[in-house]
């Protein structure tokens, strides 16, 4: 029976002893021990028990016959290697002093341990605990009944002071983190305030925002939420909250799920966008004052969450606006860059953007740095902006519109080309626009404060337009990162059927992303709606209608919306109108995207709610779309634009491929990837546009870029408001923190794309980062992470980069040194941001320098690469913004844009500085950097540039996203200026956040523009490092402090990334 049983068990017919488990076990457990074996004839053998046979034959090793008389031991010759005793001969085998537990694997189980205990082991007697006398009276009960959530801060401060003598330096005004909002009764200010409040409402009204806020502010612990048995009021509380929040989120989700719903949402968004007019002022407010945002938007937030959190949202909002401008600027840059690359490069820098812009940029940058820190500095930027805006006012508007829609570069380029026959002009315009845009966000304040003039022209059209655009772009970028990109691509593609198809594909590829995007889009749309809404609403409800049409047509395709937008944009060419339209369209598209397919009309109302989460994607999409639109427009512009287009197309394919690949991999990844691809596409488009419209467009593009950045910021903020942002803001009184959270949240919560992007960054970026040069990776990563985190952002970033590249490229083309110097200069000015940009730029430049010819291509490619470009644009925008930075960063940038702006601005500033200073070292650095880039530049140039830019942008974004503070810090760090100037504490946070961001970036970078990323990452890192160093050297002049800070930040980030 046993044998049978065992045979069944083991499926092997163990014979004899082997079938007896217990015998086998005990005999096996004594293997290796000495034993005495007695055979039936009485002889005793001693040996080491080796093994046994199935018939229980015993094998002894080193056995010897034991003599009867005790002996010292066996002699060598007495020992037999081994002896096999047949069981029939064995009488007894005596194993002495055997540890039966010797071979037990579980030497650490209770039984195993206790078995080894020497001596008596008695378990301790358990004693009942009665809780003690003094506890009976209530302390336990008080714990149950005490609903207070931990210590009161004041209590903590008091306790620490009394117990440890630590005096808290906490300032409820958070003066070290933000600048008080300077209020005045100017119309502009009121407008901004109104818009800010409107934006705040929209954002706060968004389901995503609510959901995120709920998450952020959910006082329930993990246990309470998931494991605890609920009881009492708390549970009701939480339930109520959840009920409230959940519905919105569900709505959003639903909207996102169903295009129709999205459409409906989009209308909402559009409606919201009407608000934007006020938002314009709002943007300014945002830019100028986060506080306002806090106040205006914050109020809702505050109520929901503490002021801190509310502030973040507001900041985000502001940030978005600010960011939008930067993005816009970046977009413009990309466009300008493309143009500049060929011929413009030098001319642009020198003529318009480079010299003037640069000069302004530096100021702006410097101002930007301050802007964040101090409105005044922003103010100065504003004037510049204004000037730039004025100079490229119309273009800027176009840019704004295009840029907004295109986000990154496409629109700007086209605009530039149209407006500015010379790329330089375009570039300058772009720069200005970007700067203006960047400033605008911030500038609003500045405008209101110091530069009424600048603000008027710029603000009215440029600012408003730019701001909206920025916001749009920002949102788009933000959204775009994952969803946005796809959407953008799709959108852009819609413009171009092929593109549309691509977009559709992308969409299809990333259905999830789309859904996710929808949320992002919603957020983006919100942001857009807010920013755009103001302009768009006022200016073009018709556009909205068009958008609606488009949306209807493109319903399924979130991109479709963008297309409509784009189309309107080109058609509307009127800068403002176009801008507005684009914005509207973008908004609509975003809305639609948010709603899924909802038309712009729907987006208005819907967007707000959706916008938070969806807005970002939408923004991203929007930017992409815009970029595509730009591209479409670009064809009109110039051959360069064609080249760019080609590049863009290439990028698009790449993007598509990426998308496809990404989609397969994961939604999250897809989103980012998509976003990144879209971005590249957008950037390409942008680049094209730049080439074509570069002059005016470029200017606008910068604005657009800024706007994108702003949008990104907004998206981020919107997103955060809806979900992450709110939390971020909520959780972190500091905008920065919120922003960082936003990004992260976005990716995760808002949009699978975003999350995926986030994930991608980590995953994808991770490898690339590693491969790429650490320094580049770090900076870029930092940037890229953000970008990745928010694909839209990334795209925008790319756009910015592209723009920046364009700008720089011109510079570069003109003089690589110039370019590099600019970067340096920027670094010095912007320090961190500039450095980043510079780095990026440097990398780009380096590439350019390495392969001048490639540069233009690269730029185009960057732009074309979509992500990179989009990102670049954003970065560029930020750079431009940097001049504006202060304002933008201060306001909108807080989120991602700041960084970009800062970078862009920095780049611009750097360019300017470079021009001025002509830092050889920096150039060298860049050139050195370039080597790494070279690889990039040659084949990948497009990608690499893009990647670099994207990475930088991404990093920026990442920072913002991950930690708004971090972003800010990062931005600050990158831009330093703004942050540093503003004395943003966030920067510090930023640095901390940067690491994460860096990480994200790294991962993201890979995800987004994997090809580019890798290259870009590599390049970026070197560049960044080089730039940093160079900056450190150069910074001393302008922004030694900033630079140093930036450097430190960078180093941190690098270190982190490393």
């Amino acid at each position: 029976m046993l044998l049978f049983f065992f045979s069944i068990i083991f499926k092997v017919a163990f014979s004899g002893v082997y079938a007896n488990m217990r015998m086998v076990h005990v005999l096996t457990s004594v293997v290796g021990t000495k034993c005495e074996l007695k055979v039936k004839n009485g002889l005793i053998y001693e040996g080491v028990f080796k093994t046994y046979g199935p018939e229980c034959d015993i094998v002894l090793d080193a056995a010897h016959r034991k003599s009867v008389e005790p002996s010292v031991g066996p002699r060598r010759e007495d020992i037999v290697e081994s002896i096999i005793f047949k069981s029939s001969d064995v009488v007894v085998v005596h194993f002495k002093d055997v540890d039966l537990n010797y071979a037990k694997k579980d030497n650490f189980t209770d039984s195993a341990v206790s078995a080894r205990l020497n001596g008596e082991h008695k378990e301790k007697d358990l004693e009942p605990w009665d809780g003690g006398e003094q506890h009976i009276s209530g302390s336990m009960e008080s714990l149950d009944t005490d609903l207070s959530n931990g210590w009161d801060p004041d209590e903590m401060f008091k306790y620490n002071e009394e117990t440890y003598g630590v005096k808290s330096t906490y300032d409820s005004s958070l003066s070290s983190y933000t600048v008080p909002l300077e209020r005045d009764n100017s119309e502009e200010f009121l407008k901004r305030e109104a818009r800010a409040s409107q934006l705040a409402e929209e954002i706060e009204a968004s389901a995503t925002y609510k959901a995120r806020v709920a998450l952020e502010n959910d006082e329930r612990s993990e246990e309470e939420k998931y494991t605890a048995v609920v009881r009492g009021e708390r549970e009701l509380h939480s339930l109520n909250r959840e009920n409230k929040y959940i519905p919105p989120s569900q709505r959003n989700r639903e909207a996102g799920m169903s295009w129709g719903a999205g459409r409906q949402n989009s209308p909402r968004l559009v409606q919201c966008s009407p608000g934007p007019p006020t938002p314009r002022s709002g943007p300014h407010d945002y830019n100028t004052m986060d506080q306002r945002v806090v106040n205006g938007g914050a109020h809702p937030w505050p109520s929901r969450c503490p002021s801190p959190s509310s502030r973040p949202p507001s900041r985000y909002q502001s940030g978005p606006t600010n960011s939008l401008p930067p993005r816009a600027a970046t977009p413009t840059r990309p466009p300008s860059r493309p143009p500049s690359r060929p011929s413009r490069p030098l001319s642009h820098p020198s003529a318009h953007g480079s010299t003037g812009p640069l000069s302004t940029m530096p100021k702006r940058l410097s101002s930007e740095g301050p802007p964040r820190m101090s409105p005044k500095s922003q103010r100065t930027p504003r004037p510049h902006r204004v000037a730039s805006c004025r100079g490229g006012g119309p273009p800027s508007s176009d840019y704004m519109s295009q840029g907004a829609s295109v986000e990154v570069s496409a629109p700007p380029p086209t605009r530039n080309s149209p407006s500015g026959g010379t790329w330089s002009s375009v570039v300058s315009g772009v720069i200005f626009s970007t700067s203006s845009l960047a400033h605008r966000p911030r500038s609003p304040r500045q405008n209101s404060i110091s530069g009424g003039a600048p603000s008027p022209s710029c603000l009215s059209s440029p600012q408003a337009g730019t701001v909206p655009v920025d916001s749009m772009t920002a949102s788009t970028t933000a959204t775009s990162p994952t969803a946005a990109n796809p959407a953008a691509n799709l959108e852009t593609s819609p413009i171009e059927e092929a593109k549309e198809s691509r977009v559709l594909e992308t969409r299809q590829n990333s259905p999830n992303a789309n859904k996710e995007n929808v949320k992002p889009e919603a957020s983006a749309s919100i942001a857009r709606s807010i920013g755009k809404g103001v302009y768009l609403w006022r200016y073009h409800r018709k556009q909205i209608d068009n958008l609606k049409k488009f949306s209807v047509e493109f319903r399924l395709q979130s991109s479709s919306n963008p297309d409509p937008v784009f189309e309107p944009m080109p058609q509307n060419k009127p800068p403002r109108d176009l801008v507005e339209k684009p914005k509207d369209q973008s908004n609509i598209s975003e809305e639609t995207s948010t709603a899924v397919s909802v038309a712009p009309t729907g987006s208005k109302s819907g967007t707000p709610s959706l916008s938070p989460s969806s807005a970002v994607p939408e923004q991203k999409r929007g930017p992409d779309v815009t970029s595509q639109g730009v591209q479409t427009t670009s064809p009109l512009a110039n051959a360069a634009a064609k080249d760019k287009d080609e590049k863009e197309e290439k990028n698009d394919p790449v993007a598509d491929v990426r998308k496809s690949t990404l989609n397969p991999n994961a939604k999250e990844f897809n989103p980012r990837v998509f976003c990144s691809p879209p971005k590249p596409a957008t950037t390409p488009t942008q680049t094209r546009p730049q080439g074509q419209p570069s002059p005016s467009i470029v200017v606008q593009q910068p604005h657009t870029v800024y706007g994108q950045t702003m949008f990104q910021m907004y998206p981020l903020t919107p997103v955060s408001p809806g979900v992450q942002v709110p939390h971020m803001t909520m959780s972190q009184t500091k905008p920065y923190r919120p922003v960082p959270n936003m990004p992260q949240q976005r990716p995760d919560q808002h949009h699978p794309p975003g999350t995926s992007t986030m994930m991608h960054p980590a995953t994808a970026a991770g490898p690339p980062i590693v491969a790429p040069s650490p320094a580049y990776s770090t900076q870029y990563f930092t940037c890229s992470p953000q970008q990745f985190a928010s694909q839209p952002l990334v795209q925008q970033m790319t756009h910015y980069q592209s723009q920046a590249q364009h700008v720089f490229s011109p510079m570069i083309q003109g003089s690589a040194r110039m370019i590099t110097p600019p970067g340096h200069g920027q670094p010095s000015l912007v320090s961190s941001s500039t450095t980043q940009y510079g780095e990026q730029m440097h990398t780009m430049y380096g590439k350019n320098s390495l392969s001048p010819a490639p540069i233009p291509q690269q730029y185009p490619h960057p732009s074309s690469t979509l992500h990179p470009h989009s990102q670049h644009p954003q970065p560029s925008a930020t750079p431009t913004g940097q001049p504006q930075q202060g304002p933008q960063h201060g306001g909108s940038h807080p989120a991602p844009s700041p960084v970009q702006h800062s970078q862009h601005q920095a780049a611009a500033a750097a360019a300017a500085q470079a021009i001025h200073l002509g830092n050889p070292q920096q150039q060298q650095m860049y050139s050195a950097m370039a080597p790494t880039p070279p690889s990039m530049t040659p084949g990948p140039n497009p990608q690499s540039p893009q990647a670099n830019f994207p990475s930088a942008q991404q990093a920026v974004y990442i920072h913002p996203q991950q930690v708004q503070h971090g972003y800010n810090p990062n931005h600050m760090a990158h831009v330093q200026q703004a942050h540093m100037q503003s004395g943003m504490v966030p920067p510090h946070h930023g640095t901390p956040s940067h690491p994460p961001t860096m990480m994200l970036m790294a991962t993201q970078a890979p995800a987004g523009p994997q090809p580019t990323l890798t290259q870009g990452t590599l390049n970026p890192i070197p560049v960044s490092s080089a730039t940093h160093y160079s900056y450190t050297l150069t910074p001393g002049k302008d922004l030694s402090h900033r630079n140093s800070a930036h450097i430190s930040l960078f180093t941190h980030s690098r270190n982190l990334s490393l």
């Binding site: 021990t33 080491v48 010292v72 020992i79 009488v91 007894v92 002093d97």
Partner: protein, 196 residues
């Protein structure tokens, strides 16, 4: 194949006593019993009274008489723990080498004192071996006959001083044991070898 389960004759855990054909009385707890081979495994308290160790006796019931079950098992036998075969194999190999090494020393004419010292050192320091009549400890210290403290040579250091301490203590113990029966000393030696 009506092989009865072990429990049919001897329940695992029951105590059994028996008398071998060689006149040895065995008693212990049944650990395993294999009916086909009539092999019975008993676990007895350690003959050296070591608490954590036990003696295991494998008895061929074909050469046993007077099998008597003192008391039957009262509890289900404990589950079998998995065994670390590699550990067992290494133990077998080590034991074999030790025995061969010891045999080598013995065959080399090493004095009993030398062998005792070797085993004493071996209990503390596994890395010791015979080289002719010299004991090599950790490849560093050489103890040559007559194996006194002053015979410990090697590179001055902690190793040498440590070995000297061991040697010194060993002979102290030996001195103290001389008052005891010779057999006991041998027993000690034997135990040490076993334990090692």
């Amino acid at each position: 194949m009506a092989a009865p389960g072990p429990g049919e004759y001897f329940s695992v855990g029951s105590h059994v006593s028996c008398l071998t054909c060689l006149g040895q009385r065995l008693q212990g707890e049944v650990v395993a019993f294999d009916y086909p081979s009539k092999m019975l495994t008993l676990k007895c308290p350690s003959s050296s009274a070591k608490p954590n160790l036990s003696d295991v006796i494998l008895v061929n019931l074909a050469y046993v008489s007077d099998v008597d079950v003192i008391n039957d098992r009262t509890e289900t036998p404990p589950p079998l723990a998995s065994l670390n075969i590699s550990k067992l194999a290494s133990r077998a190999r080590t034991e074999k080498e030790d025995k061969l090494s010891q045999a080598y020393a013995i065959s080399a004419g090493v004095s009993v004192e030398g062998q005792q010292l070797f085993q004493t050192i071996h209990k503390t320091i596994k890395d010791c071996k015979w080289q002719e009549k010299n004991i090599i400890v950790m490849d560093d210290v050489v103890i040559s006959p007559p194996y006194q403290v002053e015979n410990c040579k090697g590179k001055e250091g902690s190793a040498l001083s440590h070995v000297r301490k061991i040697v010194e203590k060993h002979f102290k113990d030996v001195e103290s044991q001389k008052s005891m029966p010779r057999t006991q000393a041998q027993q000690t030696q034997k135990d040490s070898s076993l334990s090692s």
